[in-house]
Symmetry: C2
Subunit: 495 residues, 2 copies
């Protein structure tokens, strides 16, 4: 694509000046529209070293209100970032609605550079490309405008510019070894960039090439493309477009319907104590091993109100080294969270590798409470099954152990526990009017949960039902499931 | 203190067991009280290597609900953290109300270790001690319970334990060079720790020593002290205690009263354009130099509604490399922010060194809107002058350039601008009912602002009045003030 690109001829200086003045004013006006329409805009800037991305960005933003945009420089990941999933550092930086984020450098730079310098295998590279395409598509589907620019100069121009920069003590530091390498291997790089662009050029986030032979001309191209893209996005935003519901492409693992679950399972007090001790010791040992092998673990708890999530989590956490895990209680999102992709707040809570994150309620709120209470559109929650599978696939690619629990009880047990909470002063804080209201919607929830279990029980992140009419039985089972999942992962890593 | 400490004799095993069982249950109950009373609790654990902090922490939390506490391991700062003020990584980790944070390792470990290994001067060390005392006092004054533990073992016990750990392949990795060094220089370390503890033992955050000769005994001591501390804090919380209003100890710089400001200053259109170009070019150059010398810059904007803050910020930002600065518009705090020390959200927004952060409204909300609208108590905002000076002193210690602007207009000019906004469709979003309501309180605000300017215009973070009846005059002045402040800092750094 890039190789065959036919540049638009550069306008005369006079024409350029006129168009630029108009475009600058128009872009400033667009910024107010973005704010009003609550459109989040992500602008990606990649390209050749010395193509002038930075200085063009400086010009473009000069007419914008600095309170409503952010610039992020994304070069090599830090050591901290390397301990998170590949997309982490990009996802946590997405803009909120009404704001623009400019990324100087992006996932393109990161993966192509790793690939060019033989730091990742062909297979890993392809897998990253898949992740990137999913990420960009998810942003679009969740209302983001994503505009990707590639700043292009030819080999000769690059060489000339690098030489110029190097010859001046004031600018010398800006030329990196990577830039020199790039120029020396221009054709090789060109091939990789071209293929990358071809592979990631999507309707939801198309590529735009910028002829970077001249600064003002670069600025004009970028500004005009931004304006056109924003206009399209704003026009689309008011039509309540639905995004296509994609077919599942992940391997699934069977999970029963809730009505088929045998809730009569129990454990004796004596066996419980014995097993609990034994399993907690085992888990404690495994935690140590995970820490050494830098394997992250994500444990997600969902379940009926009063099903015993809290006590279950406590027995798991009790076995862990407190310096190596964190429990995240998930309530309704805060304003800054609501103003972004609904998975943003979960990306933000991912642990470092070697650590364990336990979520007390999770991203599955999207297909349960948000679906039932109408907090999102039908298209939103229907799309979410696949979006969530993709999210968990990222965790899997990061080599995480992913364990998802549905803590299950029947309706009568819930009533008994609610009544007990109501009548016991120390437990009253645990029961609210909302719990009673949710209980009235039991059947609606059951339908939603069955659909959720069926559509998101993937082989890499399967659901496990914890039969919790007997809470002790459920705790022992949880520990067993977690131990098994960790052992399986450790076995796999050994190979 | 530590040297002369007389240990409580260890109880018999039987007595220990009984007390421990009681204490564990009692601590679990306290956790619910903390939650109900919205008390934030910070528990600091320092001590000798191999004193068993980690495993005692593991025991202590075993009976707690993992959803309402967090453990943080704070060893050496990361490269990212080193680019922030010294207290940054601690401040951003303080718990929210109703939760407990356990810090395994703290600022004590960090500063004593730097000092022992000659990585900081005596002077810097003392300055850190001052910062630490202020930090702990501020936490207390803002409703935090801070409990500090030092886990103590004697030189022989440490040597024995290190040997044991080293002899087992499974635990060998836990012994660090630092531990070995510490044991070899036990007496030297003891002297430094002892002095540190003496210097930082405050009513608002007292030290507690834990005789760590035995695990269960350690756990009992820590648990019982925690319970007693929580009980005291909860009892105090319901008495609406006021914290003492401390005298100012910072060098001040004079600043006029608002009524004395000459608002008739103007600049011609021609001079404005000329100056603007020249000053922006100059600032752009300086930004580059700051980046290289890793000097951070904090620019704080406060001012009347419609005084022209937005346009002023735009002219400053327009001169900067977009990759090296960020503008933070400050609105009312989000729930997670409101649940913590009011300065937390500003600590969270501090730039890396070499970068510039521009705040559009600031931490001074505490002594303006929060004071006038009654969003905090009288004691809260009265205390805030000193708390804010201390905050800015931390920024100064970090070698930041700190510039604070009051963008000033008179009442008539505000009315004219409000009316213009109301009557111009594209500007209507800029004016709200709240603006009109605030205007009615002009005199109250003026009094509060005069007090604020007088009490927080320190030599290291002085206020600058921008006469903004003529917005262009104010923009030029802002640029000049910023350039001067940066040049002064660069001059100082050179020495």
């Amino acid at each position: 694509m890039l190789k065959e690109w036919v540049k638009e001829p550069r306008p005369t200086d006079e024409e350029l000046g006129e168009r630029l003045e108009k475009a600058r004013t128009a872009l400033a006006a667009r910024q107010m529209m973005i704010k009003e329409k609550k459109l989040p805009v992500l602008v990606i800037m990649d390209g050749w070293g010395a193509a002038g991305k930075g200085s063009v960005l400086g010009k473009v933003i000069r007419n914008l209100d600095p309170r409503f945009f952010k610039c992020e420089t994304l070069t090599a990941p830090t050591d901290e970032e390397k301990r998170k999933p590949f997309l982490y550092r990009y996802f946590v930086r997405i803009p909120k609605e009404g704001a623009i984020a400019f990324f100087d450098g992006s996932w393109m730079g990161e993966v192509t550079s790793m690939y060019l310098h033989d730091k990742i295998s062909e297979k890993k590279y392809k897998s990253h490309l898949t992740s990137i395409k999913r990420f960009e598509r998810q942003l679009n589907d969740n209302g983001y405008l994503v505009v990707k620019f590639f700043f292009h100069i030819d080999e000769k121009t690059q060489r000339k510019r690098l030489k110029e920069l190097e010859s001046d003590t004031y600018t010398k530091w800006r030329v990196t070894d990577k830039d020199r390498w790039q120029n020396k291997h221009y054709d090789k790089c060109m091939n990789v960039y071209d293929e990358y662009i071809e592979a990631t050029n999507q309707f939801v986030a198309p590529w735009y090439f910028i002829d970077s032979s001249n600064k003002k001309w670069s600025e004009l191209q970028m500004t005009e493309i931004l304006i056109a893209s924003i206009d399209t996005a704003i026009a689309n935003a008011s039509t309540e477009q639905k995004a296509p519901l994609l077919q599942n492409t992940f391997p699934m693992k069977e999970v029963p319907k809730l009505s088929e679950v045998d809730l009569s399972k129990t454990i004796s007090e004596e066996d419980y104590k014995k097993e609990l001790d034994k399993l907690q010791d085992k888990l404690s040992e495994l935690h140590n091993e995970l820490y050494h092998k830098k394997i992250p673990v994500i444990i997600a708890y969902e379940g009926w109100d009063a099903a015993g999530k809290g006590g279950n989590i406590k027995r798991v956490a009790g076995a862990l080294d407190p310096r190596g895990y964190e429990v995240h209680p998930i309530a309704s999102p805060e304003p800054a969270e609501k103003a972004r992709h609904y998975l943003w707040r979960f990306w933000n809570r991912l642990p470092k590798d070697g650590h364990i994150a336990i979520f007390d309620r999770t991203w599955y709120g999207r297909v349960m409470v948000e679906r039932i209470e109408g907090f999102c559109t039908e298209n939103d929650w229907q799309r979410a099954y696949n979006e969530i599978n993709e999210f968990e696939k990222e965790l899997d690619d990061w080599n995480a152990v992913i364990i998802k629990f549905w803590v299950h009880i029947d309706k009568d047990t819930q009533l008994a526990r609610f009544t007990d909470r109501q009548n016991t002063p120390e437990k009253q804080w645990k029961i609210t009017d909302e719990d009673w209201r949710n209980r009235e919607k039991w059947d609606q929830y059951e339908k939603a949960i069955d659909e959720m279990l069926a559509k998101t029980s993937t082989k890499f992140a399967p659901w496990h039902i914890l039969e919790s009419n007997d809470k002790k039985y459920a705790r022992i089972k949880a520990l067993k499931v977690i131990i098994k999942a960790i052992e399986d992962k450790l076995e796999k890593v050994k190979d």
